[in-house]
């Protein structure tokens, strides 16, 4: 009954190749977009935005990025936290004006970038750094590559802690986002309206998902998947592994950089590199794509939602409803999230995305499953 293809004819190639070929699916997608853009901003408050929506949107971008690298191109990376830090610190430097020093003298200072372009610059700088740390992937694979990216994680965190230029020589080593606006509407700083912060991140999320989706079903995505499935075979059929792997690192780092920039500038407002972008962050995003489903766009969203909302939901149930002590709930959270990850990996190794696909398949046949 739902997802029925009967009567859903494609008469052109464009129709046949669209992302949502089934009409019901397409309309559902439009409705979700409509609600996210035109309804949600009017009904949300500070709590909704800061506790749920912003982290969800930002982690979704990071998960999209990592999914391109790990899920589509098969290059395992544990450097996500470090790359997010690159995005955050670049965004900070560009929004406060990059200062270039030579021999103890200020050579020149770039003008302050608009917040939108600062975030984009965060992505671009991270793409460069990502390519740099992606170079070893041409020689090493699998676990060994994971260890090489782990080195990137620790090196980058050390760098941002060590070199005071990155945090504008502040005494504490913290970076804090000054007030910045877009078309006169505040985007960063303490007086931001919740809807403004939400819409700003939503725009980035939608654009990222759109780009990611179209890249992964196009030529470059097919090359990545060929490399993932068997790199020697891919090379024989004419895929250039250098280009494929490095573009995957570049695109992936770009998205991760964007998410790092938003994470710092819009969501937290002030970060300290070791605490905000430590190895935990790398694992968190990796768990998101494993739970959500490797190699799927929807999986990135589902995984991000799962790991952002579940702790909050458990806290609400445990502390606010049942009145349990906060420490017991916090410990239970760890146990439940851990157990769910194991259950998921055993019961559904392909993640939430696979559950969603199976559900769709069933709905397609329902109510006559024969």
């Amino acid at each position: 009954m739902f997802y029925r293809e009967a009567g859903d004819y494609s008469t052109t190639y464009a129709q046949d190749q669209q992302t949502f070929p089934i009409k019901f699916d397409r309309y559902r997608y439009y409705v979700v977009l409509f609600i996210a853009i035109f309804v949600v901003p009017f009904v949300i408050n500070d709590y909704w935005v800061n506790a749920l929506l912003l982290p969800f949107l930002i982690y979704a971008i990071a998960a999209l990025g990592l999914n391109i690298l790990v899920g589509y191109c098969g290059q395992v990376s544990l450097g996500t936290g470090g790359f997010m830090a690159v995005g955050a610190y670049s965004c900070y430097k560009f929004m406060t004006g990059v200062d270039i020093w030579w021999g103890g003298e200020l050579l020149f200072r770039l003008p302050e970038f608009n917040i939108f372009f600062s975030v984009i610059m965060g992505g671009i700088m991270t793409a460069f750094v990502g390519v740099l740390f992606g170079l070893p992937s041409l020689r090493i694979k699998g676990f060994y590559l994971a260890v090489a990216t782990l080195a990137a994680q620790f090196f980058l965190v050390w760098l941002f802690n060590r070199v005071s230029w990155f945090y504008n020589y502040s005494a504490s080593g913290q970076i804090s986002a000054p007030e910045r606006d877009l078309f006169g509407i505040l985007i960063t700083g303490p007086s931001v309206q919740p809807w403004a912060a939400y819409l700003f991140c939503l725009v980035f999320t939608i654009i990222s998902a759109y780009i990611a989706r179209n890249l992964t079903r196009g030529a470059s995505g097919r090359k990545w998947m060929a490399i993932r499935d068997m790199d020697i075979a891919a090379e024989i059929i004419g895929v250039n592994p250098l280009r494929a792997k490095l573009t995957a690192f570049m695109v992936s780092s770009f998205f991760i950089g964007i998410s790092g920039a938003l994470f710092f500038a819009v969501y937290l407002g002030a970060v300290e590199v070791g605490e905000a972008f430590g190895i935990q962050k790398s694992f968190l995003v990796l768990f998101m794509i494993i739970i959500g489903g490797l190699g799927s766009i929807f999986g990135s969203f589902a995984g991000a939602a799962f790991l952002v909302l579940l702790p909050v939901a458990l806290k609400v149930v445990g502390v606010d409803w049942l009145g349990w002590p906060t420490d017991i709930v916090a410990h239970l959270q760890l146990v439940i999230v851990g157990a769910l990850i194991i259950v998921f990996l055993i019961a559904e190794p392909h993640g939430i995305n696979q559950l969603w696909r199976v559900a769709k398949e069933k709905l397609r046949l329902w109510p006559f499953p024969h």
Binding site: N161, S172, E179, L268, G269, E275, A276, A305
Partner: protein, 427 residues
């Protein structure tokens, strides 16, 4: 997509929180994670003091108090979630007990017109109340700690530290980096050599730092550590046979948890403090009667009288006194966060007040003003006795180098004001 529905269901649940006429003192605690050893007793002390006020005096000025707790695990993201969810409860003053969360909340609380008290942590230049209108860090801050340690060493060395070597072992974060500037200035002033040794979070790995200390042989080591880092450092110091009486921790590195693990080797270790230690105060009899015996002790109830517990209780006492001051200023019992700010800015702690509360000589007497949110910065020194397992105050609360610190505060707060377009003024 399904997650939208889930999030809506989750949030529908959250909107229901009771609003009664009571004074809410939210506790952003951490009873889990690598820093729980310090977070648990602090949260217990904070909650127990308000329980005592409710049971013995019927709240503050006739209005009962409540202490909703939210677990941050010392994590900034959870801190944001906690702040937003506690904001709905109408909390009067926030005490995040984490420098990282403090940095985030400074602009947020100012925009929301809610005061924040960062007692002995946070951003030191918040002492300048003209720039940081809603942040308070009385009675002492990180720079007072650094200067207090140097003053103590000056007194030990007959006022001359020239040619001495002093090393700083610090948590490589905003918190640990705070005293560097002060110590650099002080080293120029007093002529000692100053060395920095960062330790990365969470601080379980310190072999290389202590090897370096063994090689450099500094005369004194000052530590700005927190959580598991402290225990490890004291153990490592014992391993290289560094004389414990030359090893000084800031107040966050001076609780029972930090020294017990090293056993007898920790004997003689010193730590700064800005409040009394031990159970030798009349208030503990009240806590026993009205809180513990009534079965209302927070947590497991086994932390009473420890250093961190006393600090949590002290924080609660200062908050309650500020609430009283606010009630007097505004003539209403059920004060708002904005009125609470006025109370904090006019807070005066005297010997008589502390004695009346059952806390004679528990802390320094000080006065907060609209310009000075940091009090007078009086710090004392405590020393650990491993045989009796007690901390004792070995030097009274004495003033720090206020001239140097105030200059640094003025400089740093001016930079913050310029960055954020704040016109320094007394509101």
């Amino acid at each position: 997509m399904t997650f939208k529905l889930t999030s809506m269901a989750v949030a529908a649940v959250m909107t229901a929180s009771p609003v009664l006429a009571e004074l809410v003192f939210p506790s952003m605690s951490y009873r889990t994670g690598p820093y729980a050893a310090g977070g648990i007793p602090f949260a217990d002390g904070y909650a127990d003091y308000f329980t005592l006020l409710n049971a013995r005096y019927g709240g503050i000025g006739g209005v009962m108090t409540s202490v909703p707790e939210c677990e941050t695990a010392y994590n900034t993201e959870k801190g944001v979630e906690c702040y937003e969810s506690l904001k709905g409860s109408g909390g009067l003053v926030y005490q995040p007990l984490s420098t990282g969360i403090t940095y985030q909340l400074i602009p947020k609380t100012t925009a929301d017109d809610i005061p924040m008290h960062t007692m002995g942590y946070g951003r030191t230049s918040a002492k300048n109340g003209e720039v940081f209108t809603h942040t308070f860090n009385y009675p002492a801050n990180y720079w007072d700690g650094a200067s207090g340690a140097i003053n103590y060493l000056l007194a030990e060395n007959d006022g001359d530290l020239s040619g001495k070597k002093i090393a700083l072992v610090y948590h490589n974060s905003a918190y640990g980096k705070e005293p560097i500037r002060t110590l650099t200035e002080l080293s120029a002033k007093h002529g000692f050599t100053f060395n920095e040794m960062p330790v990365d979070h969470p601080g379980q790995e310190q072999k290389s730092q202590w090897l370096q200390i063994r090689r450099d042989r500094p005369d004194y080591v000052i530590m700005y550590g927190w959580g598991v880092m402290n225990q490890v450092a004291i153990q490592e110091a014992a391993n290289i046979r560094f004389p414990m009486e030359n090893f000084i921790g800031v107040w966050w590195s001076g609780s029972e948890n930090d020294v017990l693990a090293a056993g007898d080797a920790a004997d003689g270790y010193k730590a700064l403090t800005f409040h009394g230690v031990g159970r030798d105060f009349p208030i503990f009899d009240d806590i026993q009667t009205y809180v513990v015996d009534a079965g209302n002790a927070a947590g497991a109830g086994d932390q009473i009288g420890t250093v961190s517990y006393n600090r949590g209780m002290y924080a609660a006492m200062l908050a309650a006194e500020a609430a009283k001051t606010a009630q007097e200023i505004h003539g209403v019992a059920d004060i708002t966060p904005s009125q609470m700010r006025d109370g904090m800015a006019a807070l005066e702690i005297t010997e008589e007040k502390m004695a009346a509360l059952g806390l004679p000589n528990f802390g320094p007497s000080f006065k907060v003003s609209c310009q000075n949110h940091g009090g007078d910065g009086m710090v004392g020194m405590t020393q650990w006795d491993a045989s009796t397992q007690t901390w004792s105050l070995i030097s009274d609360f004495s003033p720090t180098d206020s001239e140097l610190i105030n200059a640094l505060v003025a400089e740093d707060s001016a930079a913050y004001a310029a960055e954020n377009n704040i016109t320094p003024e007394c509101k």
